[in-house]
Symmetry: C2
């Protein structure tokens, strides 16, 4: 009864490009004063008078950045926006507008795009950003998403990657490794499903890490907390590729080294138990896992009392002179050079 | 000797993502005062203080929007930027920054990306915009390009699509139909090449229209000309989808009708001769062809003396009441309803 199933689906070719855009964007009305004109003209018009504008962009490709086998389209729409907002917050700026473009092959019915846009709209509502433009087009294969986010900040608030100084403290928000482990769990269930499609996976024990993978949040709240605490980070970056890789970016651009303490890396209990189950080293997962979208930043020593005891923030190490290099100080006090892949496992042995 | 041929090509997998981005963007240094920070941090930082920011974005997919069989990568890089700048100029704004993202499959060597970025850099230099961000990633198939352009304008200069009034004059820049015919010529040569790869096409007689297709220009100069002439269009749009479709957008959003005069549509002699060769109606080609990236705008009657005689601008009709509808007035004075596909050919018969 394939025909019956298809009756509920709307073929994109019936819509026409302009009808499709109008339909999908009807609920994406501007909510900010800085959005003068949103979707519907050659370009959107924004008013960020007196503040600096920040811009960030990401391109996401099906089969490379996401797998529709376990990524619901609504979550994908949400996550596509979040990953860009995270870059804006990593500048210590406030996100204001996004543009969202998608290309899909004709195997996607209208309802699939509606799901995707529902996720986009939810992220826009929760993070208080306006969707002010985009492009909807066809692809020869699969789904592609391009998101550009804009934000604003007073010049003196902006945090770059190059401001870390020796003796600054290295701080991370939240906990690490969850998104990567969530991916491992989902991937295992996908393999089980391939063998036995009747099998209903029990994801309850993994709900925290699965959510970290499927519906990550960007740390808008950290920008607010830092302002309230009157702390301006000396350098900041978001953790999209794993702690190790981001620390190395920050050290390289600041011209410094660092010591990261293994026993300080914040891990959720689910991350620890799932690492045991999968026989993975939890430190390795936190260092290399990626997609956590937490913030990594450095602060002057004198600001430590301000952040001390804040449940959202963990001091994981300190900045050193460049000549000292970037190291992980292991639980047994070994000094292991950090590499973009986590650490050099040969050096550890 | 396939091996020898490959020795000169650099495999992308050798580069690593960060090395690749650094390599490709090394010549894209900021040239504008408004670009505070370009590529290299979580986001770019821009200063458009006191002016409105305008934003536009496009997603281009290989096999849908371009064909690498006859589109050299350098031209593709150039065109990808141009099509977005055109949207900024259509707001009567000045383009300032772009972000350029690409996804490519591993069949593309580094040298291909270098060619693409050389085209991007050329467009940035000629149009005086800064490339301030982007994303370089892999795709499972083919090449995808996403460009977002930003610009600025004083609020009172901005031209929207919804300001056209009855009796306003309908004006186009340059001439129309060339890009579509250039595509027809290139497509014909591609088919010839498939049958006989030894055949060397003689594109000399078609150089104008082939260039219109492969290396279009955005009408930055029109924004300057209008300022110098002290003319502010009542409405403006760029001609990316063909004159007819753009007129209908403008009429719909302004709540007006119009009369477009067939004998006023500006056509290059090469367009006329090539239409004869391909047995195409030149009016149909101008109305539906697309990709010319000229500007379509309306001006108040009283501004006519200011633009009269300007070789860049042609009055092609006038705005009417909405109830009158949107029509083409043919050479033999027939009144034919305009449709998004050019005109309704059944109605004409």
């Amino acid at each position: 009864m394939i025909e019956n199933k298809d009756q509920n689906k709307t073929d994109l070719t019936q819509m026409g490009e302009f009808g499709l855009i109008e339909h999908l964007t009807q609920f994406l009305k501007p909510q900010l004063e800085s959005t003068i004109v949103g979707i519907g003209d050659d370009a959107a018009v924004l008013d960020h008078s007196g503040q600096k504008t920040v811009v960030s962009t990401d391109l996401l490709v099906e089969g490379v950045h996401f797998d529709l086998a376990y990524m619901p389209l609504k979550h994908l729409g949400y996550k596509s926006v979040i990953v860009n907002l995270s870059d804006i917050y990593a500048m210590n700026a406030r996100a204001t507008q996004v543009t969202v473009s998608i290309a899909v092959s004709n195997r996607f019915p209208l309802e699939a795009l509606e799901e995707f846009y529902a996720g986009v709209a939810m992220a826009a509502k929760i993070y208080k950003v306006d969707v002010v433009g985009g492009d909807t087009t066809s692809s020869t294969k699969g789904m592609l998403i391009s998101v550009t986010a804009l934000g604003v900040a007073q010049e003196e608030k902006l945090c770059y990657r190059n401001g870390a100084k020796p003796n600054d403290l290295l701080v991370v928000s939240g906990d690490l490794g969850g998104a990567y482990l969530g991916y491992q769990v989902l991937n295992r269930e996908k393999e089980v499903f391939k063998v036995n499609p009747q099998n209903q996976p029990d994801l309850d024990p993994y709900s925290y890490i699965v959510e970290r993978q499927l519906k990550p949040e960007a740390r808008k709240d950290i920008v607010d907390i830092l302002e309230k605490l009157e702390v301006k980070p000396t350098a900041m970056i978001d953790i999209s590729d794993g702690l190790s890789s981001e620390i190395l970016h920050l050290c390289k651009q600041s011209g410094v080294g660092c010591n990261l303490f293994e026993d300080k890396i914040p891990l959720d209990p689910t991350v620890i138990s799932t690492c045991e189950e999968f026989k993975l080293d939890s430190t390795m997962v936190a260092l290399s896992g990626g997609e956590d979208y937490e913030l990594l930043f450095t602060i002057a020593q004198e600001d430590y009392p301000k952040i001390k005891g804040n449940p959202n923030l963990t001091v994981v190490g300190h900045i050193a002179e460049q000549a000292e290099g970037a190291h992980l100080i292991s639980r047994n006090n070994a000094k292991i050079p950090l590499t973009a892949q986590g650490w050099n496992s040969f050096a550890k042995a």
